[in-house]
């Protein structure tokens, strides 16, 4: 099936199988491998991207459902070589170790702050419920998100 998707500001036209998931389309068709696959039950959140500005687990969506949509992946977050404030904050606050959950974490938390620019710790932690990290105990992820919120987001 033919689809037209705007991915990281670039118009894409592709012919995909009906069963292709959005995450596989992004990774295998477009070569955007920054988006990760960490489970097969939509628990881990490593595949989180933005669809029309909202966070979405790209394993829960067929590529054909993205037809006509704007998709942003981790590769599209930095602008003109400048890191997004959330990327910078994860770096500054040691919000990552192995880095596998990190793209999903960053996409989720940027969307979280778009919805709620001034979350308290509890709200940040609840906002991260759909993303699993096995390295950090979430401590520094929460700190990284709070730091961006405190600085006034993006």
């Amino acid at each position: 099936m033919k689809i037209s998707v705007n991915v990281n500001g670039s118009a894409q036209e592709n012919d995909v199988e009906a069963r292709t998931l959005l995450v596989n389309y992004l990774r295998d068709e477009l070569g955007l491998t920054g988006t990760k696959i960490g489970c097969d039950t939509s628990q881990c959140g490593a595949c989180t991207v933005h669809m029309d500005g909202k966070a979405l687990k790209s394993c829960t969506c067929l590529a054909v459902q993205a037809d006509g949509c704007d998709i942003t992946t981790i590769e599209g977050l930095a602008q003109n070589g400048d890191l997004h404030p959330m990327q910078q904050s994860f770096w500054d606050n040691h919000g990552l170790q192995c880095g596998f959950c990190t793209p999903g974490m960053i996409m989720t938390t940027t969307a979280l702050l778009a919805d709620n620019p001034n979350p308290d710790e509890d709200e940040i932690r609840h906002g991260l419920e759909g993303n699993l990290c096995r390295c950090t105990g979430y401590h520094n992820i929460v700190k990284a998100v709070a730091a961006v919120a405190q600085a006034g987001g993006d």
């Binding site: 960490g38 881990c44 770096w91 192995c98 880095g99 990290c133 105990g137 401590h139």
Partner: protein, 797 residues
């Protein structure tokens, strides 16, 4: 500007936060094929027949293979047959041939042009099974009449192992004022790194060389196992590359059937072969951890002095043995049972048992969390029995700060000794941060209102920086455990470090660079740490056991000393001075210079273009017969292990109505020796605490009576979420290890080792007024609620 001891941001992060890092799943090779593995749905069954005709006929399928096709490939090795038993080691093959002993064992494989085709086709492979009765509990498996897994292991016993002083301990328990007995279950855990396992293998027929990309914490060890044990080819025929790795926690140390299968298939089909584990496969086919049933007896006198500790453990090893499975519940468990305490008598007897479950091997902490759980629960049981404060009992029995090096009684450590420590100091700091006395008052007030607050301590030690090779050999380990490193300063002054250890999230590229920057006087940007490719790095045993800095870091340090010696000799030649008069100093700007002592005007920068680096690399004018280049390799085999310690304190509130345990505060004071990067060390502690807390409260692999893993997905296995955990309050004391020149001990496992008993002790403390003495993990709401209900009805436990 010294950088050691500073929270330097990680060099590896830019590629990770932008999605540029290449993990195994991100690698594609031209002509690459994909596989799907048919796994046993039964825990215990004979393979009667396999018919692959329907699968082979699917368009896009290149071939279908069974275990019979790999009889020329050796079974996987088990190089740590601890316990001295080696005639009943049962390890997996690339694919099982006659029978399976756990759900998930591979019996057939489909190779296809793409993964979806392979997955579709593997469902068409027909297997006729003869299903056998299964047993999943380690103790029950030893009973007469239990299903027998392997002919060479009667009563399913793999090994019997003991340590310490049996008769002395029995005598001590017999003459103690009190003896407390308790059965403790340390439940099975599933490591669950966020990245599953995977392997890509390419075979070049023209020269017989394999290149294997794999999710490995120990690429050199994997190559060693492939070459010497499995395929019987020399080292130069196998190159192992570990790309960016998404966490391991022990599970990626080992050789697995899928790696052997993928590699063997690359030769069979003559094209690259890729296998990436699904999360469902990860739960059933990647190693698990823990799974002990332990009876503990602890004796004490009325004043709180512990007189003896007797431990009897059944360790579940799974249906077949993983790479170092027997070493975990023996050496890394029994030898740690003195904990932070001067115990006069200790004895431990372990039975390692085969059951119809997945393989069990090292998971973060590996034996040491199990030992710490036994010791720290035992101390609390003594306190409860004697009506003493758990803090007081701990202080009473601590190894005193002036007793180091300390050798535990009964030759428990088989010749090794605790290196250094000040256990009271860490405890004092943690109590101060907690406000311990205030909490006890708050707890009493809360109880009066019907609220159940509790506090739990864990004053742990651990064994890190494993280990002296000769000592490990004596423990049955069939290799060594030294590390090596090469340091080269290039003509421009930039420094490349190659190391045999491997980083899968720990930040070696940063902390090793800090060490180099300070020692040589170069900038962090000038240091490049390379690892994880057997082509181009010196041999190393890999990253686990909190050993990368304490062993691998020292190998780097030794190389740096040799670089500095050579730089001095070159400078002496250029200055026409005696080498003894030339010193290597790092100036106030952090720049390394060689200079004539007392004549700083006669000096030269080392790490810059046209500096000593250039003199050495150019080689135009070197003293005597000196070889060009600053390029040094060093090996380091530690004389002893390192022994971090600390105090963790957890405060919980148990909901009396629901049994839910909420963590109100978590305080951790760790002493990991000298700290190179406090930000990285704190991060290791945070993650470790989360995993340790999760064992206490939520995680647990569950098998049903038929050996089906019912906690086999992220929906069913309780990985902690952000909303379940608090922010952690960390403190640190710093007692250098005298066992290595860096004074470092190791920080990767402290959190996991310390946290679990702290949380359980806190919950038991919260319910102590109900006469609760112990609850087995995980302390789920239902289990806690049932305990409260039974006590409220007048029961005891």
């Amino acid at each position: 500007m010294a950088v050691v001891g500073k929270a330097v941001k990680r060099k590896e992060d830019p590629r990770l936060i932008t999605g540029e890092a290449r993990y195994l799943e991100d690698i594609k090779l031209p002509g690459m094929t994909h596989i799907a593995i048919l796994r046993s749905p039964h825990a215990h069954a004979n393979i009667v027949s396999i018919n692959s005709e329907r699968a082979a006929a699917v368009p896009g399928v290149i071939g279908v293979f069974t275990g019979q096709d790999f009889m020329d490939v050796n079974p996987l090795p088990c190089p740590w047959p601890a316990g001295g038993v080696d005639n009943n080691l049962n390890t997996p093959r690339a694919l099982e041939v006659e029978k399976v002993t756990h759900v998930g064992a591979g019996v057939a494989v489909v190779v296809a042009e793409d993964r979806a085709t392979a997955q579709d086709a593997v469902e068409l492979v027909d297997v006729e099974w003869e299903v056998l009765p299964a047993v999943t509990d380690a103790e029950e498996a030893t009973f007469d009449g239990a299903p027998q897994l392997h002919e060479n292991a009667p009563n399913n016993v793999c090994m019997e192992w003991d340590c310490g002083d049996q008769s002395g301990t029995d005598a001590a328990l017999g003459s103690s004022d009190v003896v407390v007995k308790q059965r403790l279950r340390n439940q099975r855990l599933i490591p669950t790194p966020m990245e599953t396992r995977g392997c890509i293998a390419q075979h070049e027929a023209v020269n017989g060389e394999y290149t294997i990309w794999m999710t490995s914490q120990a690429p050199h060890v994997h190559r060693l196992l492939f070459t010497a044990f499995i395929f019987g080819v020399p080292e130069n025929k196998v190159r192992v590359i570990s790309p960016q790795i998404g966490g391991g926690f022990g599970a990626k140390i080992f050789m697995y059937p899928e790696y052997v299968l993928t590699t063997a298939l690359s030769k069979k089909v003559g094209r690259p072969v890729k296998w990436v584990e699904t999360r469902s496969e990860n739960y059933i086919a990647t190693t698990h951890g823990r799974d002990h049933v332990t009876d503990v007896e602890v004796g004490a006198n009325r004043d709180g002095t512990i007189t003896g500790l007797k431990v009897r453990t059944y360790a579940n090893l799974g249906g077949t043995l993983s790479t170092v499975a027997p070493g975990i519940p023996t050496t890394l468990y029994g030898r740690m049972l003195s904990g932070a305490y001067k115990l006069p008598n200790i004895y431990c007897h372990v039975t390692g048992v085969y059951t119809n479950t997945g393989m069990v091997d090292a998971y973060r902490g590996a034996g040491r969390p199990e030992a710490t759980y036994v010791v720290e629960r035992a101390v609390d049981l003594v306190a409860s029995e004697l009506g003493m404060d758990p803090v007081e009992v701990r202080r009473k029995n601590f190894v005193p700060a002036d007793s180091f090096p300390y050798e535990p009684s009964g030759n428990l450590l088989n010749g090794l000794s605790y290196d250094s420590g000040n256990y009271d100091k860490a405890l004092d700091m943690a109590l101060e941060m907690t406000g311990y006395e205030d909490f006890r008052a708050e707890q009493a007030a809360a109880r009066a209102e019907g609220r159940y607050l509790g506090i739990g301590l864990s004053t742990y030690i651990e064994i890190c920086g494993i280990a002296p090779s000769a000592w490990m050999f004596g423990e049955g380990w069939g290799a060594a455990l030294w590390e090596s490193a090469n340091v080269r300063m290039h003509i421009t002054g930039d420094v490349v470090v190659t190391s045999g250890s491997q980083s899968h999230g720990q930040g070696h590229e940063t902390s090793i660079a800090q060490l180099v920057a300070d020692e040589l006087g170069v900038s962090m940007d000038q240091v490049h740490v390379q690892h994880s490719d057997t082509l181009g790095t010196p041999f190393g045993y890999g990253t686990y056991g909190s050993r990368s800095t304490a062993v691998g870091g020292v190998a780097v340090w030794r190389s740096l000393q040799r670089i500095k010696e050579k730089a001095r000799a070159i400078a002496a030649h250029e200055f026409e001075a005696n080498v003894d008069d030339v010193e290597y100093v790092v100036n106030d700007e952090g720049v390394g210079v060689v200079q004539v002592k007392g004549s700083p005007d006669q000096s030269k920068v080392v790490g810059e273009f046209m500096g000593i680096a250039t003199s050495a690399a150019g080689g135009w004018d070197l003293p005597g017969d000196m070889e060009p280049f600053l390029d040094e390799t060093a090996y380091y085999d530690p004389p002893d292990c390192t022994y971090p310690f600390g105090t963790h304190i957890c405060i919980v509130e148990v909901d009396a109505e629901t049994g839910n345990v909420g963590i109100k505060r978590y305080i951790a004071v760790d002493d990991v020796g000298k700290v190179i990067n406090p930000m990285i060390v704190d991060g290791q502690v945070h993650g470790g605490i989360a995993q340790g807390v999760a064992q206490a409260l939520w995680e647990g692999a569950q098998y049903d009576e038929n050996g089906q893993l019912v906690s086999g997905s992220m929906m069913d296995y309780a990985i902690p979420r952000a909303d379940l955990l608090p922010s952690f309050e960390l403190g640190r004391t710093e007692t250098p290890s005298p066992n290595n020149p860096l004074g470092v001990k190791g920080a990767g496992e402290t959190g996991t080792i310390a946290a679990t008993p702290a949380v359980v002790n806190a919950v038991v403390d919260a319910l102590s007024h109900l006469n609760v003495r112990h609850i087995d993990m995980p302390l789920t709401p239902s289990r806690v609620w049932e305990t409260i209900q039974s006590r409220s009805n007048g029961g005891n436990s």
